[in-house]
């Protein structure tokens, strides 16, 4: 999408053209990342990126790539256990930041007698339940409403790769090919490679497979798509090349 009048480039502190702000009779306007609200009615961007407004859902945000992950509630993340304390695990989501906490009972079917023992250095797939600037983030490995894991929990074996925040967001989209322009994982699966993945919004992707070569190929595909800013066509060529090199 070109940077145009409808979706302009904004820099921190810019004034937003009031005609771009969506209005709705009943729903309040929701502000996504990159915008802040100064009462009574000033909306100001805080980062450099493209301003996107969704009139159907009555929300607005700034689309950008880069920077460091800041935890926000309901995000799915891949964390690394740092140590365990009385009833908690301390989990690190990004390097050099303070740890998030994960209650030891926040796993499927965990009771005081049967809780999972996780060693420091283990990887888990979790959801952020609490995140605000004054407190350390809190995680859970079980769905709060159903009590089932639904894919969350410890990740064994495999390898974790670092990707940019933008690519992680695109991979997590429901329709990653149409909306996110990323098809590389589906293409690799289509070529017959058997692997599973878990994508963390904090810029980490876990890949697990029986074959080491497969994991390495997936890792390389992710890295080259990320660093080369590859479009869907180029991703197809990349996948073909990697499959050829594997054989």
């Amino acid at each position: 999408m070109e940077v145009d009048q409808q979706h302009p480039l904004v820099l921190p502190g810019d004034t937003i053209d009031p005609s771009l702000i969506p209005t709705h009779k009943k729903q309040p306007l929701r502000l996504g990342p990159g915008l802040r609200h100064i009462p009574p009615n000033a909306i100001i961007p805080t980062v450099a990126g493209q301003l996107i407004a969704d009139h159907k859902k009555n929300s607005m945000w700034v689309e950008y790539n880069g920077g460091r992950y800041i935890p926000s509630p309901n995000d799915l993340v891949i964390g690394q256990i740092v140590r365990s304390a009385a009833d908690l695990y301390y989990v690190n989501l990004t390097p050099y930041t303070s740890s998030a906490t994960l209650p030891q009972l926040a796993f499927e079917g965990a009771t005081k007698k049967t809780r999972p023992i996780l060693a420091p250095g283990a990887l888990i797939y979790a959801r952020v339940t609490l995140a605000n600037r004054h407190m350390d983030a809190e995680l859970e490995c079980v769905s709060g409403s159903t009590g089932k894991a639904e894919g969350l929990g410890p990740l064994t074996g495999g390898m974790a790769f670092d990707v940019s925040l933008g690519l992680a967001r695109r991979l997590l989209m429901a329709r990653s090919r149409e909306e996110g322009g990323v098809e590389v994982l589906e293409l690799l699966g289509g070529e017959g490679l058997a692997f599973e993945t878990a994508v963390g919004r904090n810029g980490r992707v876990w890949v697990g497979s029986e074959s080491t070569k497969t994991v390495i190929a997936v890792g390389r595909a992710l890295r080259e798509t990320d660093e080369g800013d590859l479009g869907v066509e180029q991703q197809r060529k990349l996948v073909k090349r990697l499959i050829r090199e594997m054989r």
């Binding site: 690394q80 690190n92 390097p95 050099y96 060693a119 250095g121 283990a122 990887l123 990740l155 064994t156 074996g157 495999g158 390898m159 974790a160 876990w206 080491t212 070569k213 994991v215 390495i216 890792g219 390389r220 090199e245």
Partner: protein
């Protein structure tokens, strides 16, 4: 001291598992370097090296000073390496970490102690004035193998550097500015390069060249061999770690020699290109006495 990020258990096990199958994460062979590139700045003595995602900048500079009392016929030569938080947030200014101390010592032994730079040629007036040459190494990005990249940058910067021309008449020393007289290169004797091997496995049986940061965090030992293209070894440093068979070490040294020859040829080529670039349409063109019609 800031918290260095530890790799996860999954990552550790995977890297070792892959090595058992002779695979590396970026699908390189065990004895292949990442793409190495060196660029020179507009100023003399600035060399920027990139080895994969590792980036190092070296700058050489010189000033006139008093020689050491016990070595009146030699100039002063220093290499300064201070890692800043730019390389990684775990490095702090003014707090040398083990990495920094090791890097400093290796460069010291490789370039300074091996006599790569002829310090006698830096003497201006015996016992009173001499050149003090200084190379500052700045690591801009740390993705493994900072040692090899830094050594390359230091050698490249020193060979690229030009010091101001001088003359002595009747006991009076004149230092010419670059506008008065073209600066002259340093007295360079040989070009040493570092080659670092990393060892993996219970008995250090798997050896890799040019480890990335992820590989460095999982290795059990490492050995840095410094030599020039004639096969003259300046130093070998294996500082602790899992013991490695002597045979493997000899093989590593042999392969190191081939790599150093490649480095030498590459650096010569880049320096020649730089000289050509400066001459084309530059001073040499100005200095000709032809009229252009």
């Amino acid at each position: 001291m800031p918290r260095e990020a530890e790799p996860s258990l999954n990552e550790r096990q995977f890297v070792l598992q892959a090595l058992q199958e002779n695979l590396r994460l970026d699908s390189r062979e065990a004895d292949r370097y990442r793409p190495l590139e060196v660029t020179f700045g507009d100023e003399y003595g600035v060399a920027k090296v990139s080895l994969g995602k590792t980036r190092v900048l070296a700058k050489a500079s010189a000033e006139v000073t008093v020689p050491y009392a016990d070595r009146p016929l030699d100039g002063v030569f220093q290499i300064a390496t201070e890692l800043s938080p730019m390389a990684s947030p775990s490095f702090e200014v003014n707090r040398p970490t083990e990495t920094e101390v090791l890097l400093s010592r290796l460069l010291e032994k490789t370039v300074r102690r091996s006599g790569a730079l002829d310090t006698e040629s830096l003497c201006l007036v015996a016992g009173q004035k001499c050149w003090s040459v200084r190379v500052d190494v700045h690591v801009l990005s740390h993705d493994g193998n900072v040692i090899d990249a830094s050594c390359f940058a230091v050698v490249a910067a020193l060979r690229h550097f030009r010091k101001p021309d001088t003359s002595i008449e009747g006991g009076i020393l004149t230092v010419y500015t670059p506008a008065e007289r073209e600066p002259v290169p340093l007295g360079w004797l040989h070009s040493p390069f570092c080659v670092t091997w990393s060892y993996f496995g219970e008995e250090g049986e798997m050896a890799l060249l040019d480890a990335t940061r992820a590989e460095e965090q999982v290795r059990v030992g490492s050995c840095t061999i410094s030599l020039n293209r004639h096969g003259e070894i300046c130093q070998i440093a294996k500082l602790g770690g899992t013991p490695v068979e002597a045979v493997i070490l000899l093989q590593c040294t042999a392969i190191a020699l081939t790599k150093v020859k490649e480095f030498s040829a590459y650096l010569d080529k880049k320096l020649a290109e730089d000289i050509k670039r400066r001459d084309a349409g530059g001073r040499s063109a100005e200095l000709t006495a032809e009229n252009d019609r």
